[in-house]
């Protein structure tokens, strides 16, 4: 509770600092995401009230740009490369398997808060295609049947 209070105080500072600048909304949303880790409904409502704009404006921006998260990120961020090389080497099948094992579609977080599954652009490791990363760990030359074991490792 007090942590939440501290976060809102930090957000208030950001808003006070930026509110009179033109185009303040995006930087405020970025800084809010830095503070809270994502943009929960309460935070969007708070910004709307402070800037005297409809919350639908903020939600529209938050859903337009991929950089904004509307739900908390998992402890492990899984990034599956969908770049050309990985794609032709079967990264779609890897992603499909991950969705099946985790039970969430790409872009979402598992209900236990452990994993966030993302499909990303080229990770720059085309020689290892298809590639995925789990936080900073890189997995290359993947096949879908390896996925359950990899996930099980992080669940322990």
């Amino acid at each position: 509770m007090s942590l939440e209070k501290e976060k809102f105080e930090a957000l208030q500072k950001v808003i006070d600092e930026l509110r009179n600048e033109q185009g303040a909304l995006m930087p405020i949303m970025q800084r809010a995401q830095d503070i809270f880790g994502y943009l929960p409904e309460e935070v969007q409502n708070y910004i709307a009230k402070e800037l005297d704009i409809p919350v639908s404006d903020i939600y529209g921006v938050a859903t337009f740009y991929a950089q904004f998260n509307l739900e908390p990120k998992g402890q492990y961020i899984i990034s599956v490369c969908m770049g050309t090389a990985c794609y032709v080497k079967g990264s779609q099948q890897v992603l499909d398997k991950l969705e099946e094992v985790l039970g969430v579609p790409a872009g979402r977080t598992t209900p236990d808060g452990l994993f966030t599954l993302n499909a990303t652009r080229c990770l720059g490791a085309c020689g290892l295609a298809p590639v995925m990363m789990v936080n900073d760990d890189v997995y290359g030359r993947l096949t879908p049947d390896q996925i359950p074991d990899i996930i099980a490792k992080y669940r322990q």
């Binding site: 969007q44 409502n45 409809p54 919350v55 404006d57 939600y59 529209g60 859903t63």
Partner: protein, 579 residues
């Protein structure tokens, strides 16, 4: 103002600097096709239907391109026509083309363009994602499958009304016009004004159709079904049958209602006169007894919900008077039922309103008469037109004689003008002046209350005392006015607010007026003219001189603001703000 010369398709026109190519062309009687443009509401160059050749390398969107001196515009080159068709095909590629069953068939701007430009099929296939309908509230249905993302509704809600219940969400094919957080419209601070509906060029936003409920009641032999049309309906209904905007069809309307089979055709105008009796009395009493001022009018259900969401601290400032529709309903189910010897439980009151928010208002728990709903069904002007067409009644050929039924229909000129912004104020002043001066004041025209400016202010001297009043039409204008008052920059005794720009004549339930027609004709002005003519033609122009109103008080209610009047005609409000 500096003038510039422009040549459009070989026609030379002189227009004010700053005029857009679209407006300049319109003055030269060239109608460049548009979809997202809506005069006074939306001008964002988003849909690209209006592209023209202005001599530059790329085609320009005429709706946002200002003219420059010597500009040569071509609106019909092969490249322009090809681009236009492609744009239209792309829009159609992601549109649910169920025109036969669409409520906007024949008034759809997309359908009309497809016909005009000869585009019947699209070469492309969009993602055509299927969305569920948002039809959970009583007033408005949101259908993203029909939406073409023109954003006219967003501009009406956000910029005109100052609300912003909907916005463009997501991107690419996944873009939808929706409330924040995927909420239902009924879970937001939407006030149900329906300005989004009348801004929509297609069938993506529409009223919830209640005509089946009316037919069912009409066919039920056990029910005594009565109807009451609002003042603003009679200057707009004719448009649905091809008559000019603002034509007065009071007689034809009453005849059509009779032919539809209503047992009695009453008039909300009587309820409007009654509202003035109660509201003027309330105002005089607040002034005399040091009550809460300024007092705000309470006829507009959109405005009421707006206050409840955004300015709950002003709830004590709202008049406690119910709307004319609710008063009429309450009186029908009490006084009329008693006089006619009918069990009010068997009476079905149908209201015909220029409004979609009325559908929400009739469901408010406090709108009861002796334990019964005061109004059972509320339909819009458009829904009534649909019923008349369905019944194959030749509306334009109906006689012009009014055929309203006795006891609760007789009305004055003061009631007629309720439908125009400033009308409730003017009607109240006519009665307040007589009450305060204790005589019949000759003047009935308070012209400073008239016109379509968002905020109007005036000071009138009644009984030697100055009365400062203000009028706001659109909740966006009301917000500005309230902020001025709260900042201490203005103060008034009495304020009229109507949620819709122009008042009820331009309500969310009125006939559709397409964007092209609105370039030349302002429905707010034309329909208001009809109401002021109706007022002038009335012999009696003050509510308190209405003989049937006098009779109602003498035989049933007692005094205005008296005990029975309070039970039947007054209400209370709820704080809906998220604190």
């Amino acid at each position: 103002m500096a003038m510039v010369n422009v040549t459009i398709d070989g026609v030379k026109v002189q227009v004010e600097a700053g005029t857009t190519v679209l407006e300049a062309a319109h003055q030269a009687h060239i109608h460049i096709p548009t979809l997202c443009h809506l005069k006074d509401v939306n001008k964002i160059g988003a849909c690209r239907m209006c592209v023209v050749d202005v001599g530059a390398r790329a085609l320009a969107a005429a709706c946002v391109m200002p003219v420059s001196d010597g500009m040569v515009v071509k609106t019909n080159t092969p490249a322009v026509r090809q681009a236009r068709k492609s744009v239209l095909e792309l829009i159609l590629s992601n549109h649910e083309r169920k025109c036969l069953s669409c409520v906007r068939s024949k008034t759809c701007e997309l359908q009309a363009l497809a016909k005009d430009l000869g585009v019947d099929e699209s070469r492309f296939d969009g993602a055509n994602i299927e969305y569920p309908l948002d039809n959970f509230g009583p007033s408005i249905v949101r259908d993203p499958n029909k939406c073409i993302l023109c954003r006219r509704c967003v501009a009406a809600c956000r910029n005109v009304q100052g609300i912003g219940a909907i916005a463009a969400v997501n991107r690419g094919f996944k873009t939808v016009i929706a409330p924040a957080f995927e909420k239902k419209l009924s879970e937001t601070d939407c006030i149900n004004c329906g300005q989004c509906v009348v801004a929509c060029p297609v069938g993506a936003l529409r009223e919830k159709d209640d005509t089946d409920k009316v037919w069912e009641a009409l066919y039920d032999p056990e029910k005594f079904v009565v109807v009451q049309p609002a003042p603003a309906v009679r200057v707009a209904l004719g448009e649905e049958f091809g008559m000019p905007i603002g034509t007065r069809v009071t007689g034809k309307m009453s005849q059509a209602l009779k032919r539809l089979g209503f047992d009695k055709v009453f008039d909300t105008d009587f309820g409007a006169d009654l509202t003035i009796m109660e509201e003027a009395t309330e105002l005089v009493s607040r002034i005399k007894n040091g009550g809460v001022l300024p007092m705000f009018t309470s006829c507009s259900p959109g405005w009421i919900k707006y206050v409840e969401h955004n300015f709950p601290e002003l709830i004590p400032n709202l008049s406690t008077c119910k709307s004319p529709m609710q008063m009429e309903g309450a009186i029908i189910k009490s006084y009329y039922a008693e006089k006619a010897g009918i069990d009010p439980k068997n009476i079905v009151v149908v209201a015909v309103m220029p409004c979609v928010a009325k559908k929400f208002e009739i469901e408010r728990p406090e709108m009861e008469t002796d334990g019964m709903r005061s109004v059972d069904i509320s339909i819009t002007t458009r829904e009534l037109a649909r019923m008349i067409k369905d019944a194959r009644i030749d509306f334009t050929k109906l006689p012009d004689e009014e055929c309203f039924d006795e006891l609760v229909s007789e009305s004055t000129g003061a009631a007629a003008i309720f439908g125009a912004t400033g009308g409730v104020m003017e009607a109240a002043l006519r009665t307040a002046a007589d009450v305060l001066e204790n005589r019949s004041v000759e003047n009935v025209d308070y012209v400073a209350t008239r016109g379509i400016e968002g905020i109007k202010e005036a000071t009138f001297t009644l009984a030697g005392k100055e009365l400062k009043v203000a009028i706001a039409n659109s909740t966006g204008a009301a917000k500005k006015l309230i902020r001025r008052i709260q900042a201490g920059d203005a103060s008034y005794a009495f304020i009229e607010v109507m949620a819709c720009p122009g008042g009820c004549v331009n309500g969310g339930g009125q006939p559709m007026v397409n964007a092209e027609t609105r370039m030349d004709i302002d429905p707010r002005v034309e329909r208001a003219k009809g109401l002021y003519t109706e007022d002038e033609k009335k012999v009696i122009r003050k509510s308190h001189e209405n003989p049937d109103i006098k009779k109602l008080y003498a035989e049933y209610l007692g005094e205005p603001n008296g005990h029975r009047a309070h039970e039947l005609l007054h209400t209370h409000y709820v704080d809906r703000s998220k604190k």
